[in-house]
Structure formats: structure tokens, C-alpha cells
């Protein structure tokens, strides 16, 4: 079996595309999410930084404004006490005592303003770490070592007529740290600037204030003066690291506060999230790959099963054709046999079926059979084929219909491992006399349509017997009937009577008989050779109309045999006695006799008594006519509207049951003889009994009037 190689690449390709698309979608989603989060974080950082900056600015302003006011206040005090240089000492000291946040305060005079002090005169108070009086250290610091005249702050203070914050510098004399000073001019009454007030703000203190500018871990801030000198230092930025910077300017002093946030700190969480999402995505993809691979394997299994199924269906199709070919193709009338018209069909429920029919004509005799193998499908069809070939081969040499059935049964029973059985009806119709010998093996009784006296549609009296294949060596009881020209035999399998519609109702025997009756009454031309086929078509239409859309549950078979009248043909028929049975000289056949009487469909009230009368008669024949030997008893029955007639014929020793005296029923129990009851009963039951001996046969006739 060739595997389709194009399957594999197709499978791989489609699986590959699925994974690719899924990965692309996932990656796209992740990227979008990443950038949105990033933007959100950035915005958050901006908002926080700006808020903090503003707060810082306010805080710083608080301090700077306080210092500016202090500077102005000191200048004012100095201006009032210009004539008293000693007062300068006190002023600066007082200022420091009053305002806690000032590190040092000084008043620096222009050269030689106080001649007694010489060129430099700068009074300064600053804080020490000592306690009490010595907490504030007040002194004059101007001198050649501290030439304040050349400092920037002094220069600015002289020229600028308002508070001025100078650039940071190291105050070696006063606070001895990096400071930033606020200067303010001191003017004499003439408005000339005579001194500069200088109040220092230690940068340490500033860095202290701005603690909350650390908004993120590892983020830092810087405060720079307007010229870019560092007031609060920023640690060295690492080259290559990316930073976000936020600025705010402090109006009063012209300083710039910046918050500097390393980007990797800012986006640290985002990066972590991104990593987790990526891992999850890869796991998801791995799972997808696994699923696609497994699905691919399942698809492969499915496709293999599919191609196997198709191959099987193909072979079943061939088997069906073979089976259909086994059926006879052409139906009578044949050229040399114009008085026989037949038609048959089989509708199998599956591709191959277990129903069969067969027929052939030989020496003016028609051999035919209809059968139904238990089950359906391939096993049934095999048994069907076997049965059919046995029928053909055995009927070539076997003329006794009961023996024929027995041989087929023995053959099938021997090889019956699967316990399959076949119901079979075999018939042999003498096309010269209309005598029908038949033997039933568990099959449905055929329908006999008699046309010689109106249209009578009835089941052919049939003993069931056992189906073929159940008991090897079983002895089949044959039967005989006589038909007239124009009569029809309708054979079928239970696929017809048990055909179900959607409501699980069965078509049934009644409907079948009705349909046959309808057709036959309408069919007036008894010589019509097309009638057989049309009869089957009519039945098929009727059952299909009943079944509707429901699925066919069993093989459906029909076979019609019509014995046509022909111009000038003389029929060598005897006076018809409709039904007969041949029994062996065996007490065990008595139940079979009961079945046969049952099948005659005599009025129910008489069934038991007729049965009893026949049983008693036949038993006597077996006892007295065939005391020691095997023999056969022929029982014929004829029914008219007025009476039923039974004729019992045997070829045993002469025996006249009517000669026996009747039993005396008035005797008591002790006096009653054991024998004699049988004949007594027959006499009681039947209206007329007559005996004759003819050609070595005992012939007893029993008549019961209806």
C-alpha cells in the first residue's frame, strides 16, 4: 500500500504556519504592552519628579527668602549704627541668635571706612559647636589674609542694589565650608554704598533640606547656580548609562534644581515583567508546537483509516456485483416455455446481502427456492453463495424434495462453525400437471393466489420444519399442493413483512396480502407475460411508500411464479385435492401432523377435533397397517364451503378401521377395556367415514360438514 508522500510536507507546512502566526501575534501583543507600560512609567516619573521639584523649590525658597530678609534686616541695623562700629559686632550676633537657620552673618565695609580700623573691616558672627555664649563666635575677620574686597560677593554687593545670591565658594574664614552667600548693600544717609551685608547659607544645609528629592532608588538631584557651579553636587554620571533629567529653576536665586533618574532603575520593573512575559510566551509557543505535532499524528492515523475504509468499500462493491451476477438474469417466459412467467428481485440492506433466490427449469419441471441467511453483510453473503450452489448441484440428481432439503441441511450443518442458519423454501412445480411439491425449512409460507374461482389470496399451508444448518440429519417433511393455470405463487423473505418505517412499525403480512390482492384483482389478463414483473413493482412501491425515508434494516427479496394458461395446452390434472402431506411411519411425526392441520386454517372451533381425528386415524394406520415396517402415509385435505374432506392413504396391510366395533361408554371404569377409544373418537367427531381398498392401498375418507 502506497503512503501518500505529499501528506507529510503539507502537514509540516500548515503546522509551521500556525506556529508562526501565533508567535507573531503573541510578540506583537507583548511589544504593544511593553511600550504602553514604558510610556506610562515615564509619565509617572515625570509627574513625580515635577511634583518633587516644586516642593523642593518651595522649601528652598522658604530658606532663601528668610535669609534675604535677614540680610535686609542686618543692613538696616548697620545703617542705623553707622557711626558706631562696635555696634556691628552686636548686630551680627543678634541676628544669629534670632535666626536659627543662618550659619554666619557678616558686614563688610568699603576700604578705610573706619579709619581707626584701617583698610579692612568685616565683622562676622558664625556658629560654633560649643555651648552657651561661645556658641556664636563674633570677630573681625577682615585683613590681608582675608581680603574680602576682591571677592566676587563683595564686588556684586557693592554694585547690585538688591539681594544677590552669589556663586558658591569656600568660606575659609567664616563658616569654613562651601557656602553660598546672600549680599545686600548698606547705604549711608547719602545713599552711597558703604558696606555689604553677607549672609551665608551652608551648602551642607541645602543638601540636608533636599532629602526628599530622591524620588527613586539610585536617582539623585543636583542644584546648580545660574552660572553652572555646583551647589549640591551630583555624583558622577556613568558614561553609557541613560538618564532622565528634570529641571526646575528657582527664581530668587537663579539656581537650577535637577532630578536625575537612571533609566534602567526607572524601567527595572518593566524589564522584569518583560522577561517574565517573554518566558511565558516561549512556554506557550512550546505548548503550541507540541499540540500541533500531536494533532498532526492524529490526522495521519485518521487518513490511514480513511484510505483503508475506502479500499474496503471498493471491495464490497465488487463483491456485490459478483453476488448480483449469481442471480438468474433472464426470467421466463422462455422461448420453449411460454406458460411460465417469473420475476424476482433482491434489495440487500448493505453492500452485500444474505437473501437468495434461484430457479431453473428441467424436463418440464420448475425448481425454485427462496432463502434468508441469518445476519447480513459479508458473512451472510458467503453462506448464501454456498447454499445456492448446493441447491443447484444437489437438485441435479435428487428428485425427492424432502431428501434434497435434508442433503442441503446436512452439508451446511457440517461446516457450520459460526452457527449461521438459513431459512429456505424449495419448490418443484410440474409444468404439465400443476402439481407442486415443496418443502419448507423455517421460511415464511408463500402466498398462493388462485384465479380459477374468483381471486383467492391465501398463505400456502406450510409446515415450518427447522431452518437449514441447525441440526444435521434432521428429517424434513415435504408437502404437496396442486395449482391451476392462472395461479400465482408469491415468495418473499421477512425483509418485506418486517420492513420498518420511521415509527418502527412493520409493514406486516396483512398489508402484503392486501397489495397482492389489489394487484391480482386488477390483473384480468391471465396470459399477460409482463404481469409478474409488474406485480413485484407494485409490491415494491407499496412497501417503499410505507417505509418512507427510514433506513432499510434487512435484505428484501421477492419472487413471483405464474403458471400461465396457454392456447390449446391440455392440462393433465387430477380432480384437485388441494393440500397434502406425506408422513413416515413414526409416532414422532404426530406433532408435525398437528402443525400441518394448523396450517390448513380451518375454522378454529374445529381445529382440535380435526387434529384429534387425524391423529387417531394415523396412529391406527401406523399400528395396524405398518406393524413392522417402514412406510408412508399420505394425508390429503380438501376444503370447500360445505365440508372438509380428509383422505388417508397408506400401502400397508389391509386394515379397515370402520370394521371395529364402537366402544361402550356406559361401562364402568373397571369394566372399560383399554383399547377402542381411537376409532370411537373418530366416529364421534367426523360426520362420514368410508374405507376402501384399492391397488394395494388402504384409502380412508373422513368428511366433516361445516
Amino acid at each position: 500500500m502506497k503512503q501518500k508522500d505529499s501528506d507529510k510536507p503539507t502537514r509540516l507546512k500548515s503546522g509551521f504556519w500556525i506556529i508562526l502566526v501565533a508567535a507573531a501575534v503573541l510578540e506583537l501583543t507583548a511589544c504593544i504592552q511593553y511600550f504602553c507600560s514604558r510610556a506610562a512609567i515615564q509619565q509617572e516619573a515625570i509627574d513625580r519628579a515635577q511634583t518633587e521639584l516644586r516642593l523642593a523649590e518651595l522649601e528652598i525658597n522658604v530658606h532663601t527668602v528668610a535669609i534675604e530678609e535677614a540680610a535686609q534686616m542686618l543692613a538696616m541695623m548697620a545703617e542705623r549704627n553707622l557711626s558706631n562700629p562696635q555696634a556691628m559686632y552686636a548686630s551680627t550676633r543678634v541676628l544669629l541668635q534670632t535666626l536659627d537657620n543662618i550659619e554666619s552673618a557678616g558686614i563688610a565695609f568699603i576700604p578705610n571706612y573706619y579709619p581707626q580700623y584701617g583698610r579692612w573691616f568685616e565683622v562676622c558672627s558664625s556658629r560654633t559647636d560649643k555651648e552657651g555664649e561661645e556658641a556664636i563666635y563674633t570677630r573681625q575677620i577682615g585683613g590681608p589674609n582675608h581680603d574680602y574686597l576682591n571677592t566676587e560677593w563683595f564686588g556684586n554687593g557693592l554694585t547690585i542694589d538688591s539681594c544677590w545670591w552669589c556663586e558658591p565658594y569656600l568660606d575659609d574664614a567664616g563658616a569654613k565650608t562651601m557656602v553660598v552667600s546672600c549680599t545686600y548693600p548698606v547705604k549711608n544717609p547719602k545713599g552711597e554704598v558703604v558696606a555689604v551685608v553677607c549672609i551665608d547659607l551652608s551648602l551642607d544645609r541645602l543638601s540636608h533640606i533636599s532629602n526628599y528629592l530622591q524620588v527613586y532608588q539610585d536617582s539623585y538631584y543636583a542644584i546648580k547656580s545660574s552660572t553652572g557651579l555646583s551647589i549640591v553636587d551630583d555624583p558622577d554620571t556613568i558614561p553609557g548609562r541613560k538618564y532622565l533629567t528634570f529641571d526646575e529653576e528657582i527664581d530668587a536665586t537663579g539656581w537650577h534644581i535637577s532630578i536625575i533618574i537612571p533609566e534602567d532603575i526607572l524601567y527595572a520593573d518593566l524589564r522584569k515583567m518583560g522577561l517574565i512575559v517573554t518566558i511565558l510566551m516561549l512556554l506557550g509557543l512550546a505548548l503550541l508546537v507540541f499540540i500541533v505535532y500531536r494533532a498532526g499524528k492524529d490526522i495521519k492515523v485518521l487518513m490511514t483509516l480513511n484510505s483503508q475504509k475506502e479500499r474496503m468499500l471498493g471491495e464490497l462493491e465488487i463483491a456485490r456485483n459478483i453476488q448480483m451476477a449469481m442471480l438468474p438474469k433472464t426470467f421466463p417466459p422462455y422461448q420453449n416455455r411460454p406458460d411460465l412467467s417469473m420475476y424476482g428481485i433482491i434489495l440487500p440492506a448493505k453492500e452485500v446481502g444474505g437473501d437468495l433466490y434461484d430457479f431453473f427449469e428441467r424436463d418440464s419441471k420448475l425448481f425454485f427456492c427462496v432463502g434468508d441467511v441469518s445476519g447480513k453483510g459479508v458473512p451472510a453473503s458467503l453462506v448464501m453463495a454456498t447454499t445456492r450452489s448446493l441447491f443447484r448441484s444437489f437438485s441435479a440428481h435428487e428428485h425427492d424434495i424432502a431428501a434434497l432439503t435434508g442433503e442441503i441441511n446436512d452439508s451446511i450443518s457440517e461446516t457450520n462453525d459460526m452457527n449461521m442458519f438459513v431459512t429456505l423454501f424449495i419448490g418443484e412445480l410440474d409444468l404439465k400437471t400443476g402439481e407442486l411439491h415443496y418443502c419448507n425449512a423455517g421460511h415464511n409460507a408463500p402466498v398462493l393466489i388462485e384465479r380459477s374461482n374468483g381471486t383467492v389470496v391465501e398463505m400456502l399451508p406450510t409446515i415450518p420444519n427447522l431452518p437449514i444448518g441447525i441440526l444435521s440429519g434432521y428429517s424434513y417433511t415435504p408437502q404437496t399442493a396442486t395449482i391451476q393455470r392462472g395461479d400465482t405463487l408469491f415468495l418473499y423473505t421477512d425483509g418485506l413483512t418486517e420492513a420498518e418505517n420511521a415509527n418502527h412499525e412493520q409493514y406486516g403480512e396483512e398489508k402484503m396480502l392486501e397489495a397482492i390482492r389489489a394487484f391480482e384483482t386488477a390483473q384480468t389478463d391471465l396470459k399477460d407475460p409482463t404481469a409478474a414483473k409488474r406485480e413485484i413493482e407494485a409490491l415494491l412501491d407499496d412497501v417503499q411508500a410505507f417505509v418512507g425515508d427510514a433506513e432499510q434494516s434487512d435484505d428484501l427479496t421477492m419472487l413471483v411464479v405464474k403458471w400461465l394458461p396457454v392456447e390449446g395446452e391440455q392440462t393433465e390434472t387430477k380432480q384437485p385435492l388441494r393440500h397434502s402431506i406425506v408422513m413416515r411411519n413414526d409416532i414422532q411425526q404426530i406433532p408435525t401432523l398437528a402443525e400441518w392441520v394448523e396450517s390448513l386454517h380451518i375454522p378454529e372451533a374445529l381445529n382440535m377435533t380435526m387434529n384429534l381425528a387425524l391423529e387417531e386415524t394415523v396412529t391406527n394406520v401406523m399400528l395396524y397397517a405398518y406393524p413392522n415396517e417402514k412406510g408412508k402415509v399420505l394425508i390429503e385435505a380438501e376444503k370447500t364451503d360445505e365440508q372438509i374432506t380428509f383422505v388417508i392413504t397408506d400401502s400397508g396391510v389391509p386394515f379397515d378401521p370402520t370394521a371395529k366395533p364402537d366402544a361402550d361408554t356406559s361401562l364402568s371404569a373397571e369394566e372399560r377395556p383399554i383399547g377402542g377409544l381411537g376409532i370411537h373418537l373418530v366416529r364421534q367427531i367426523m360426520d362420514k367415514i368410508s374405507y376402501r381398498r384399492e391397488e394395494g392401498k388402504n384409502i380412508l375418507t373422513l368428511i366433516k360438514k361445516l
Binding site: 414422532q588 404426530i590 406433532p591 391423529e615 361408554t665 371404569a669 383399554i674 370411537h680
Partner: protein, 100 residues
């Protein structure tokens, strides 16, 4: 056709089930042998499941009846259906037995 015999104190009850025709008469005759030897008891022939009887079956009933009389036992025939009754009528057996 099956025949079963039950003992119930002084009663022997024979149950016939099926069709007592000529073929069935042979095994049934075997089955009722215990009844033929029973002395001084009441023999009940329960025919409620008996569908059919022919002369061979009647013979069996008659022999039971004769033997019972000889052994001092009583025979009762119980629950015969319409068909059996008709046969009993035709043969006069209706007066040979106590029918219940």
C-alpha cells in the same frame, strides 16, 4: 409435554403440562408409574396446563383410575379446559372420574 408429581400429605398431585398426544404418551406413561402403586391416598390429576389429549392419553388416565380402585385410592381430575372436556364427553370419561 412434561409431567411432575408432588406429594402433599396424603395427596399425590400430577401436573400435566402441554399436549398429551400419541407421541407424548410414551414418556408420560413412564412418569406416572408412581401413581399406579400408590395406596390409600388421593390422586389429583391437575390438567390446568393440559392443552390437548388423545386416546393414548385417555388410556393413561384410565389405567390410573383402575389401579387406584384396586389400591383403595381416590382419583380426582382437576381444571380441564373446554377441549379436554369435549373429549371426555365424547368418550364417556366424564362420568368415570370426579371432575373438579
Amino acid at each position: 409435554m412434561t409431567t411432575t408429581i408432588q406429594e402433599n400429605g396424603n395427596q399425590l398431585i400430577a401436573l400435566f403440562n402441554g399436549r398429551l398426544d400419541t407421541a407424548a404418551a410414551i414418556p408420560t406413561a413412564e412418569a406416572v408409574k408412581p401413581l399406579l402403586d400408590a395406596a390409600n391416598c388421593e390422586i389429583v390429576l391437575d390438567c390446568s396446563q393440559l392443552e390437548y389429549i388423545s386416546s393414548s392419553g385417555l388410556r393413561i388416565f384410565l389405567s390410573i383410575r383402575k389401579e387406584a380402585a384396586a389400591h383403595g385410592s381416590k382419583v380426582i381430575v382437576r381444571n380441564i379446559n373446554a377441549d379436554i372436556r369435549q373429549v371426555f364427553m365424547m368418550t364417556g370419561f366424564i362420568s368415570l372420574f370426579e371432575i373438579q
